[in-house]
């Protein structure tokens, strides 16, 4: 299950206040947090208590069906980089795919895959809270700001 910190609910509600067609679901925010975590190749485990996180869904929404393999690919690539595993290390690459990918599930992720992806999203959310110091309530402005942060982090 994709899980997200409850503090981000407040962002989601504010961003959707006047415009519900940009961030259609919480997964849209989750995805941006995930990208931010990936871009900084850092992660923070989600708190173990259930009461500080909220469940989103356990599959990729329809808007992401076309890119979910790439998104999961990013997860694997980042883990390989973080662990210092070379792209020529066959055994470890196979193990990493087995660890994170389960094509029989709706999400194509294992429980471990969900957990690590949630960790990146959690870290990405924490970083974004610091990076966006001036509170942005409107979805278009937020989108411009987040794009700038992501491109700087990745580039």
């Amino acid at each position: 299950m994709f899980r997200i910190r409850v503090e981000s609910d407040k962002w989601f509600n504010k961003l959707r206040h006047n415009e519900k067609n940009i961030f259609k679901t919480k997964f849209d925010l989750y995805y941006l947090f995930f990208l931010n975590g990936i871009a900084n190749i850092d992660k923070n485990p989600l708190l173990s208590k259930k009461d500080s996180t909220s469940e989103i869904i356990d599959y990729f929404p329809s808007d992401y069906i076309g890119s979910r393999h790439l998104i999961i690919g990013m997860l694997v690539i980042t883990e390989l980089k973080r662990l210092g595993i070379d792209f020529s290390d066959k055994i470890n690459i196979q193990e990493k795919f087995h660890e994170l990918v389960d094509p029989d599930t709706p999400s194509k992720l294992t429980l471990k895959g969900f957990s690590i992806m949630n960790d990146y999203a959690n870290k990405g959310f924490e970083l974004l809270q610091e990076q966006i110091k001036d509170h942005v309530d409107l979805a278009p402005e937020f989108l411009v700001k987040v794009h700038s942060i992501l491109t700087n982090s990745f580039d």
Binding site: V6, K108, L143, H147, T151
Partner: protein
């Protein structure tokens, strides 16, 4: 069950004292137009009808009551009596208001309840429908029409809940909680101190949660109410500024450009988000990583043509495909080596991944496409800020030149916006603060989770685990059933609703996307015009009111006012079909292309009444024209006279106001 409004009488309230009857030739008229010039009390009458039928008057505040008091005459009491026909029976509900003590009370009479009873007490077959949520669907004012399409309100979904009484699910869940509480409390008397202590803690938490929820609800409702006021004030500000010839054209242009900018911003934002959902659009480095891993996989010959499954299955055989025997040693070695291969399922995933990477463009164009769109979005945002700044500047100029009323409006608007910011901060507090003592927390979810855990502990200790699990299962089923039922009903209603809207707007198609809280128009459509909003609202409400086997009257204030003649004619053609009984308050300007169309095309019985407030003008008019007056009261005339109805003039009406 056929419910009809037989008539009502009003005495002592702001609207003129009057008795109106829908009776026509010893039957209830199918359609009744009540012509009331502006200021005659249409809004007050609707409010009184609504409050009497739903019983909500007893929750009126002192302010609510005083606002209904007559201004021109000193009165201490008000009485509003409504007569309803239920199939062949009658129910009379009488609202009495004491303006000195600010108390509203009811009296109900009907042979269905055995005579006269104090209090609001309609027969049981009516109580499911005569509640505030449902009554406002058939005692209808324009405010509901706007709210049905307003994202800040859930009126459309609420209407569906009210019609099908889906609130019953929530009521049952609440009863289940009471049942569980009763049983555990009963047991706690027989068991040890630990359960008593936990029950005490539970009680305190439930009270605390209830208070927090009330505060949360109050803050949310206040924000919504403030938003409505802010919207109204903004409209007044716009009208005021546009009345100044010097700024009219420029201000009009600015407003149009802002609307256009908002629409462009929405579309551009959606385009940007659509591109961001594909990771390769964000950065060349992401694409580069994809290519690197793909290259690596290709070099490693991953996925291989052979999968792990092949070797696992081979190891289960006694003979290899080459014909040699597979003993225990061989099986062991094959299984060990199989781990070096990927499963067939992951093979499939990797092939899909590599195909998607292959499809990515090596050029930077895809990243440029997103960057360009973001830059365009940024420009639109800057342009909108510039326009808003210009708008504020014009207002500032007028305020400085002495327009005090404008100053007051802007000040009021700023205060409301500030209040909303403060209330929103308070609501944010209720959504955060999720640690420590739940009795000191304001986070509703956190407290609720703590309560649930405590209930689980009590259940274990007091040996009511089975009861708890059964209760939980039942609650889950009820919640799920409620959700599924609502979804199915909404889908069915949506289909019929869309057909009705298509029929009503053949020349300017309106696409209804969904009903999710409010009625949502499709993607790129701008907000509906006033006429379209009313048309959409009628279509929706009549879809609901004609759904079941019951029939309700439809009482509408100014059904045609803001509609252009084309839409008026369309609405007029469906009015007779809307319900068994249609009652409408109109002003004289709504007669053309509406009342006359209905009169001409419908074979239903139509009654035309005029209700006037007594003024020098109306006194003179009545004495000159000598119409058929059926009620002559302290401050009003009720006239049942077709000739008077159709000749009552608009210009002279303005004098009347």
């Amino acid at each position: 069950m056929i419910i009809k409004l037989l008539g009502w009488s009003s005495k002592g309230f702001r609207c003129p004292d009057a008795t109106l009857s829908m009776d026509m030739n010893n039957a209830v008229s199918d359609i009744c137009f009540i012509q009331m010039p502006n200021g005659t009390g249409k809004t007050t009458t609707l409010k009184l009808l609504n409050a009497t039928l739903s019983g909500s008057a007893t929750s009126w505040s002192k302010n609510d009551i005083q606002q209904l008091r007559k201004k021109e005459h000193l009165v201490h009491h008000g009485t509003f009596i409504v007569h309803l026909g239920i199939n062949n029976d009658t129910v009379t509900i009488e609202l009495n208001v004491d303006f000195n003590t600010n108390i509203a009370s009811f009296r109900t009479s009907s042979n269905l309840i055995g005579g006269i009873r104090d209090g609001w007490s309609p027969p049981s077959q009516l109580t499911n429908f005569l509640n505030p949520k449902f009554v406002k669907l058939f005692i209808f004012d324009g405010e509901l029409a706007n709210k049905l399409l307003d994202n800040d309100f859930d009126e459309a979904s609420n209407a569906i809940e009210a019609l099908f009484q889906l609130y019953i699910f929530k009521d049952i869940i609440s009863h289940l909680d009471d049942y569980w509480n009763y049983h555990t409390r009963d047991r706690s008397n027989k068991t040890n101190r630990s359960i008593n202590s936990k029950n005490n803690e539970l009680s305190k938490l439930e009270i605390h949660l209830s208070k927090i929820k009330n505060k949360h609800s109050a803050a949310t409702n206040k924000i919504k109410a403030n938003n409505t006021d802010i919207h109204d004030i903004s409209e007044k500000i716009d009208i005021r500024i546009k009345n100044v010839k010097k700024y009219r054209d420029e201000y009009d242009k600015i407003i149009n450009h802002i609307e256009s900018a908002n629409s462009s911003i929405s579309i551009k934002s959606q385009d940007c988000m659509r591109l961001i959902r594909i990771p390769a659009y964000i950065s060349k480095n992401i694409t580069s990583d994809f290519y690197s891993i793909k290259e690596g996989l290709d070099k490693l010959k991953l996925p291989s043509n052979t999968s792990k499954q092949f070797f696992i299955e081979l190891a289960n055989n006694d003979f290899c495909i080459c014909g040699n025997q597979i003993g225990e040693n061989e099986k062991h070695n094959i299984n060990n080596l199989a781990t070096k291969y990927l499963s067939s399922e992951i093979t499939g995933f990797l092939n899909s991944f590599k195909s998607e990477v292959n499809a990515l463009s090596v050029s930077s164009f895809v990243q440029d496409e997103l960057s360009d769109n973001i830059n365009e979005l940024n420009s639109l945002l800057e342009e909108r800020d510039r326009l808003l700044s210009k708008k504020r500047y014009i207002s500032q100029q007028l305020q400085e030149s002495g327009d005090n009323e404008l100053k007051e409006l802007e000040k009021k608007k700023t205060l409301l916006e500030k209040e909303n910011l403060d209330l929103q901060s308070l609501l944010d507090k209720y959504n955060s603060d999720s640690s420590g003592d739940p009795l000191r927390s304001s986070n509703i979810d956190y407290i609720q989770n703590y309560i649930n855990t405590l209930k689980d502990e009590i259940a274990i200790i007091s040996d009511t685990v089975t009861l708890k699990s059964k209760t939980d299962i039942l609650k889950f089923i009820l919640k799920d059933t409620h959700k599924i039922t609502k979804e199915h009903l909404t889908t069915d209603i949506l289909n019929k609703f869309r057909n009705r809207v298509d029929h009503l707007f053949p020349f300017s198609p309106i696409q209804i996307e969904s009903i999710d809280g409010s009625i949502k128009l499709s993607g790129n459509q701008e907000a509906a015009s006033v006429g379209q909003t009313l048309g959409i609202a009628y279509s929706f409400l009549t879809t609901l009111l004609q759904w079941g086997t019951h029939s309700f009257p439809l009482v509408v204030d100014s059904p045609a006012g803001p509609l252009d003649y084309t839409v008026r004619r369309e609405v007029a053609s469906i009015i007779p079909l809307l319900s068994e009984q249609f009652i409408s308050f109109i002003i004289s300007s709504e007669r053309p292309h509406f009342v006359d169309i209905i009169k001409k095309e419908s074979n239903k019985s139509i009654k035309s009444l005029t209700l006037l407030r007594k003024t020098d003008y109306t006194n003179k008019l009545v004495s000159t024209t000598n119409p058929c007056i059926i009620d002559d009261t302290l401050d009003g005339y009720v006239i049942d006279d077709d000739s008077f109805f159709y000749n009552f003039d608009m210009d002279e009406e303005d004098n009347n106001v």
